[in-house]
């Protein structure tokens, strides 16, 4: 019987895997990802963006093992690291962790909701897709698959690498586990990011997302830092870095990230469709939170939501008719205010203040607020100089500190009120920007 398999992929040519990994790919939780759009409703703006979490997850697995093979090559580690990271000295340990990493990369998005990130706000308080990913990896459905592997995998090891220390806050990470988690989820070199930039770029037709990921991966290294401060001693904590020869590829990836956020992920029309979708689902669920038990969770995909959304758009008596109609008829809300640094430097909560004031003026139903965490902000990493000494990317690159940090923050208004609202904002903006937090003292 055939033990090795491959799946054709537009980014990585082939995603290779063996028969036990194929069982995970064929599992119900993973197959569900065939029905979750990678970029939510971005296809309403970029019609080619109809790709799904399924192929992205395969791509992340492929890239994760490529990075693993490069950074654990003993010839590319210094003596101190070879001694402190004992796993690199054991063939069995390396094989175990390579498999854990591949499975973590494959399953890192298992918990995604219909239409990906857009509707996470409808989960109960304290829940997000990473928490659902963890539950699904540790579920009775997946556990036998981990047990059937040789050696068997501990699902908690998979969870750690799949969601990383930011989301698995109750778990302690060793230096080794922190580095492997960085391979999947890391800000600078995470393969999740590498794959989605390349894949989203291809499918949206926005070419700014491309970069030389072959060179980038080949030059990744595990490094220990120099003194960050020029005072005191130096921490020996290892982390992922890059050879100086790969710095241009790293710069290109971070520029790609900047442009993809600016043009695709923060696109105001993409964002407002996400808000209308959330409004529809809120009505569809009668204000209840989304289910979090694995059985019902797995039953929900884009297809179930879209079927009811289309029905609601046609029938004014159905729940969520108005937001559904806005999506289907492209009658979305328009931008009233967009974050910019000039305003924010006077009032760091300017977007929220404009929203609060506009809501008071035009009513709750006419105004929507959207805020995304800042992206393309400061990312620093270690660079191995040709002399063999480590340095920081912020020192070695003259480009990285020029990439402007950006925020996605918008206030949207019902298109029927747009002209009035623009006039109102022109009259009142000066007062709002000069009095941070004065409109509504409640926390955003």
């Amino acid at each position: 019987m055939k033990q090795n398999h491959e799946i054709k992929d537009p980014i990585h040519a082939f995603v290779k895997h063996d028969s036990v990994e194929r069982q995970v790919i064929n599992s119900r939780p993973f197959q569900r990802l065939r029905h979750i759009h990678q970029l939510s409703m971005a296809y309403l703006v970029y019609p080619g963006a109809t790709h799904r979490r399924f192929e992205h997850s395969l791509g992340v697995m492929e890239l994760a093992s490529r990075v693993f093979d490069v950074v654990t090559d003993k010839n590319k580690l210094n003596d101190r690291l070879r001694n402190s990271l004992e796993q690199v000295n054991s063939v069995d340990q390396l094989a175990y962790w390579r498999r854990v990493l591949r499975m973590a990369a494959l399953c890192h998005d298992l918990g995604h909701l219909p239409f990906s990130h857009g509707i996470e706000g409808l989960l109960p308080e304290g829940w997000d897709h990473e928490r659902m990913t963890r539950i699904l990896i540790c579920s009775d459905e997946m556990k036998p698959l981990w047990q059937s592997m040789r050696p068997p995998l501990d699902p908690i090891d998979i969870v750690k690498l799949a969601v990383g220390p930011q989301k698995a806050t109750d778990l302690t990470f060793s230096d080794w586990e922190a580095i492997l988690a960085e391979i999947v989820t890391g800000d600078a070199f995470g393969v999740d990011r590498m794959d989605y930039l390349l894949r989203d770029s291809l499918h949206t037709g926005v070419p700014y997302g491309e970069f030389d990921h072959y060179r980038l991966i080949d030059t990744l290294r595990i490094l220990t830092p120099p003194s960050e401060s020029g005072v005191g001693d130096t921490s020996l904590e290892p982390s992922l870095g890059i050879e100086k020869g790969g710095l241009a590829a790293a710069e290109a990836m971070l520029l790609a990230r900047y442009y993809m956020f600016r043009t695709v992920y923060f696109h105001p029309v993409v964002r407002i469709y996400g808000i209308h979708l959330m409004d529809f689902l809120f009505a569809w669920l009668d204000g209840s939170p989304l289910p979090i038990d694995p059985v019902n969770y797995l039953l929900l995909t884009d297809n179930e939501v879209m079927t009811d959304l289309l029905k609601a758009a046609r029938d004014r008596d159905r729940k969520g008719h108005d937001p559904a109609r806005r999506i289907v008829e492209r009658a979305h809300y328009k931008v009233l205010y967009e974050w910019n640094q000039k305003d924010a430097s006077q009032n760091p909560r300017i977007g929220r203040d404009v929203f609060d004031a506009a809501e008071k003026e035009f009513g709750k139903d006419a105004v929507r607020y959207d805020k995304l965490p800042p992206k393309s902000g400061k990312i620093d990493f270690l660079v191995l100089l040709r002399t063999g000494e480590p340095s920081f990317a912020s020192t070695e690159s003259s480009i990285l500190d020029q990439i402007p940090p950006q925020k996605g923050e918008y206030v949207f208004i019902d298109p029927n009120r747009l002209k009035d609202a623009q006039k109102w904002l022109k009259t009142n903006f000066d007062r709002i920007v000069k009095n941070p937090g004065s409109v509504n003292n409640e926390e955003s």
């Binding site: 402190s84 220390p165 930011q166 806050t169 302690t172 990470f173 060793s174 230096d175 922190a178 220990t224 830092p225 120099p226 003194s227 960050e228 401060s229 020029g230 005072v231 005191g232 001693d233 130096t234 921490s235 020996l236 904590e237 290892p238 982390s239 640094q341 000039k342 924010a344 430097s345 006077q346 760091p348 909560r349 965490p373 800042p374 992206k375 902000g377 400061k378 620093d380 100089l385 000494e389 480590p390 340095s391 920081f392 912020s394 020192t395 070695e396 500190d401 402007p404 940090p405 950006q406 925020k407 941070p436 937090g437 003292n441 926390e443 955003s444």
Partner: protein, 185 residues
């Protein structure tokens, strides 16, 4: 705590650290913010996990990115091979000054910590921060047990340096008790 108050405290902390001569890289700010929370009880409410160089808050990392985007702080690149320093912009100074009265109750704690940590490097802050972390999570262990716990969490830390960090925590606690307003002990 309201977001504007929290931003004002962060700006105030960075400002005081620079005034006291701290290098003020992100690691310095992360560890100072953590110790500010656990030692002096300033309710900034950042969620910390044990990660890069000890206690680390992704939320704080995001907030630093946010105020950088807002133009309230900037990064000063330092000569190789050292990392950059954070400093307030003119707009950041204006905003900080504007909210001085709202965060007056935390000024003593911010000044105390900036002075105590001013000449500490990344590795020392990593050990000190991790020692606070172990104390916070493991409770009343002996000094030696605390030092052992630090080494088990951060194997690259020398056991003797870990023990020094435990003494460092005790000294900081004593010093804070001497200067703290009674309501903040």
């Amino acid at each position: 705590m309201r977001s504007l108050e929290r931003i004002s405290i962060l700006l105030s902390l960075i400002n005081k650290m620079r005034e006291q001569g701290s290098w003020c890289g992100e690691t310095h700010i992360q560890k100072a913010a953590y110790i500010l929370q656990v030692l002096t009880g300033v309710p900034t409410e950042y969620e910390f996990v044990l990660y890069k160089h000890g206690p680390y808050s992704f939320e704080l990392h995001g907030e630093l990115g946010s105020i950088l985007a807002d133009g309230l702080v900037k990064l000063e690149v330092q000569p190789a091979p050292y990392g950059p320093s954070w400093t307030l912009t003119e707009a950041g100074q204006t905003l900080r000054a504007r909210f001085v009265s709202q965060i007056q109750g935390y000024a003593e704690a911010v000044s105390f910590l900036a002075e105590e940590l001013r000449n500490k490097g990344v590795a020392e802050l990593e050990r000190l921060g991790t020692a606070f972390w172990v104390k916070e999570h493991n409770g009343r262990e002996s000094r030696e047990d605390t030092a052992r716990a630090i080494v088990s969490l951060k194997p690259h830390v020398d056991p003797n340096d870990a023990l020094v960090a435990v003494y460092g925590v005790e000294e900081l606690v004593r010093n804070w008790q001497e200067v703290a307003p009674s309501s903040q002990i």
